[in-house]
């Protein structure tokens, strides 16, 4: 009997070992995968509350402070939720986003001489046309997304500098009327109920539309398959060229809207508007749990990544941490989140992204 039991134990041991390995995830990893990115955001909030309770910082939990955080990251959110489609499609990032923002903004300022609405429509069309170019080159001709979008960003930058002779232009000077100039100014500054800024409303609308697009439409399902396994998607009859192209178009739409917002905020049409938003958006996307390999993640997760960036900046400034230390801490947190996420995914046998 004892012998039999031992034999039985020998037989089941490998299975038990597998189970044991499956639960070897550390508490943080389990927490991450149970609550997702909002769990981490929650940790930041709890950390802020603890600091406030112990009198280390002031005013963290106030409504105004929370609104400030959302206000500050709304623009990044607008760009990031659009670029997330590119990442989701397995094409890493859209590095032409900053120059698309700049081009849309400067064209809008230039076109204000024809009135507010024509300027908005023309500039959005110009911004989206950059996405169309990316869509054709990367979707149809399979250009490397990083190299291509980087090249497009240089070309766009060159066009802006050439056309506007390296000068910046001002909405109040270019506009046909004071009303057109004021309306353009209001894109960033209009507040609903005196508190909620228009860019926040725009972000919320985009989150709803993009979430529905990604999760409730045939396009979303096909994008997920394309991002996860392009060849499999192709063999299953999906028009991957069109799907990938559409992802770059969505990114361009977001970048173009972001361009209008940032230009309204800075009151200047210039080639440097939007600089840095490519890497900032990618950071938010990755922190938000969307894998660079494609096919995994969500818009809500990306918004969580954006909020974490805002919360992190807020708490660090309230703590009085200096610029250099802030950069270091931001980088360390990015490494920890990405590292833990990748490790736990591997432990779960899901993928190595």
């Amino acid at each position: 009997m004892t012998e039999q039991k031992t034999q039985h134990e020998h037989i089941v041991q490998p299975e038990m070992q597998l189970d044991a390995r499956a639960v070897k995830l550390n508490i943080f990893s389990k927490f991450l995968h149970t609550l997702g990115i909002y769990g981490i955001a929650g940790l930041f909030v709890i950390f802020g509350i603890v600091l406030q309770v112990f009198g280390v910082i002031n005013g963290f939990l106030s409504v105004q402070n929370m609104l400030n955080i959302v206000d500050a990251v709304a623009l990044l959110g607008i760009v990031a939720v659009g670029m997330a489609f590119v990442t989701y499609s397995g094409h890493y990032a859209d590095l032409s986003a900053p120059t698309t923002m700049a081009l849309t903004g400067i064209v809008c300022v230039q076109m204000l001489r024809y009135g507010f609405l024509p300027a908005i429509l023309i500039s959005l069309a110009v911004g989206i046309s950059v996405g169309l170019l990316n869509a054709v080159a990367i979707g149809k001709f399979k250009a490397n997304p990083i190299i291509w979008t980087l090249a497009v960003s240089y070309v766009t930058l060159g066009v802006i500098r050439l056309v506007w002779v390296n000068k910046q232009i001002y909405p109040d000077v270019m506009a046909s009327s004071q009303r057109a100039s004021d309306l353009f100014d209001a894109i960033y500054r209009l507040r609903f109920f005196g508190k909620i800024a228009l860019p926040v409303i725009i972000l919320i609308i985009l989150i709803i539309i993009y979430t529905l697009l990604m999760t409730r439409t045939q396009f979303g399902a096909q994008l997920k398959i394309t991002g996860a396994a392009r060849k499999a998607a192709k063999f299953s009859g999906i028009n991957v060229e069109r799907i990938i192209g559409a992802a770059f178009l969505v990114s361009a739409v977001s970048a173009a809207i972001g361009g209008l917002v940032v230009t309204s905020l800075s009151r200047v049409g210039a080639w440097y508007n939007g600089a840095g938003y490519d890497f900032r958006a990618v950071t938010a996307i990755v922190i938000g749990g969307m894998t660079l390999a494609g096919g995994r993640g969500s818009i809500i997760g990306v918004v969580g990544g954006v909020l974490i960036i805002g919360l992190m900046n807020n708490i660090m400034t309230l703590l009085g941490i200096g610029t250099f230390s802030q950069d270091m801490i931001r980088g360390a947190i990015f490494i920890i989140v990405v590292g833990v996420s990748a490790k736990s995914l591997r432990s779960l046998g899901r993928d190595d992204a």
């Binding site: 910082i57 002031n58 005013g59 963290f60 106030s62 105004q64 402070n65 400030n68 955080i69 206000d71 500050a72 990251v73 623009l75 990044l76 500098r161 002779v165 390296n166 000068k167 910046q168 001002y170 109040d172 960033y188 500054r189 940032v262 905020l265 800075s266 009151r267 200047v268 210039a270 440097y272 600089a275 840095g276 805002g310 900046n313 807020n314 400034t317 309230l318 009085g320 200096g322 610029t323 250099f324 802030q326």
Partner: protein, 397 residues
């Protein structure tokens, strides 16, 4: 017969030699006359009548000298709040030991060839180049402008190219303060006269250049900080939105006022200083966080940029309903001047972009003309307030 031929030959040689000597003398005399004529014509050119796009004089010399204190034995040993701690940066160039500097040809600026290498494409650079071109046109100088577009490797290549072209002068905005000595040494060893301008390089670079011209950032901010302190009643908590770390403006526009106010208004306390970059949204979040953290304690903000940073500051102040915070900033962009006109920004520094380029070319012209060149030439110092902001419209860029 042979003797006759020899005599004829010697006579011919003597005649030829005499002819050459005579002709050479004539040519020298003519050249000397031309040099004198060129110098005379060059010296007669008055560029002080030229104006910048904002209607201000393009060049204004002589009104911006301030006493240079004696250098402490070890400035870095002094606390950062001591003005003399910043001596090496603030007065860089004043104590340089000039090395292998060529003698002025003293033959006038007219017709000279100058290569101007800037740092990169920017609306400011366009205005700066316009100013340089105006002075070059006045002297009939052939000015060639090169832009490496913020790429140090490309700037180094451009320096090589410029040296190969053997111009009469190179004007350089060094992209990187620490690399500047190598660049300056290379130009110096090639025997091409050099003037550095706009950004402050490491002190060693000054040894190889005839002069450095540009804004007196420390000086401007010392004046601005006194104006600001007076408006604050010489008390209260203040914060600094800094320039990009590394360059001289990062120190001048923050530690300039801090060290000045430690003596002029010691009751003013520094609450925080941060460098959020030049994006309005980042600055807005920073200032919103400051308002949450410091509340009514925050009475004043000093910004390194009167454009995006200033807009971010005022967005945050407007959201919090804090119109009492006194804000000052560097630069006179259109955005900044509009904010001054609207009564939001209390004061900004006059930073003439056209004048910056113009002063470098004017200094080169002075050197060709054999005039005395100070090791450092500053742009005019002026604070723009609501009282005189209208005088600076339209903006230069």
């Amino acid at each position: 017969m042979k003797k006759l031929v020899k005599l004829l030959f010697v006579g011919l040689m003597l005649l030829t030699a005499a002819g050459l000597v005579f002709a050479g003398g004539e040519a020298e005399e003519a050249a000397s006359g031309a040099v004198e004529g060129n110098l005379e014509a060059s010296l007669a050119i008055d560029v002080s009548v030229l104006t910048a796009a904002d209607g201000q004089p393009l060049i204004k010399l002589g009104g911006q000298t301030r006493p240079v204190p004696e250098r402490p034995a070890d400035p870095s040993a002094l606390p950062e709040t001591d003005p003399l701690h910043w001596w090496d940066m603030e007065f860089a160039g004043w104590n340089s030991v000039k090395t292998n500097i060529p003698e002025s040809p003293k033959d006038g600026a007219i017709g000279k060839r100058i290569v101007m290498i800037v740092h990169g494409d920017h609306p400011w650079t366009t205005a700066c180049s316009n100013g340089a071109q105006k002075v070059a046109d006045a002297y009939d100088i052939d000015l060639k402008i090169m832009s490496p577009n913020w790429d140090l490797a490309v700037q180094n290549q451009m320096i090589d190219q410029a040296i190969n072209e053997r111009p009469d002068m190179i004007l350089l905005i060094p992209l990187d303060a620490k690399t500047a000595p190598q660049q300056a040494r290379k130009i110096n060893r090639a025997g091409v006269p050099l003037i550095l301008f706009n950004t402050l390089p490491s002190a060693e670079a000054m040894d190889y250049a005839i002069a450095w011209t540009g804004p007196d950032d420390f000086g401007q901010f010392r004046i601005l900080s006194r104006l600001w302190a007076d408006a604050l009643g010489k008390e209260g908590g203040v914060a600094y939105v800094q320039h990009a770390p590394g360059g001289s403006p990062y120190f001048a526009r923050c530690f300039g006022p801090i060290s000045e106010l430690s003596e002029y208004a010691p009751e003013i306390t520094v609450l925080d200083k941060q460098a959020p970059g030049f994006e309005a949204d980042k600055t807005m979040q920073l200032v919103s966080d400051w308002l949450t953290r410091f509340g009514d304690e925050l009475k004043g903000i000093c910004a390194a940029d009167d454009s995006a940073q200033a807009l971010g500051i005022f967005e945050a102040l407007s959201k919090a309903g804090r119109e009492d915070v006194i804000v000052v900033a560097a630069g006179n962009s259109k955005v900044g001047m509009d904010l001054v006109k609207d009564g939001k920004l209390y004061a900004i520094t006059y930073q003439t972009a056209e004048g910056d380029g113009a002063l470098a070319v004017k200094t080169a012209a002075d050197w060709f003309n054999g005039l005395e060149i100070e090791p450092v030439r500053y742009l005019p110092q002026h604070m723009i307030t609501v009282e005189d902001v209208e005088d600076f419209y339209p903006p230069q860029w």
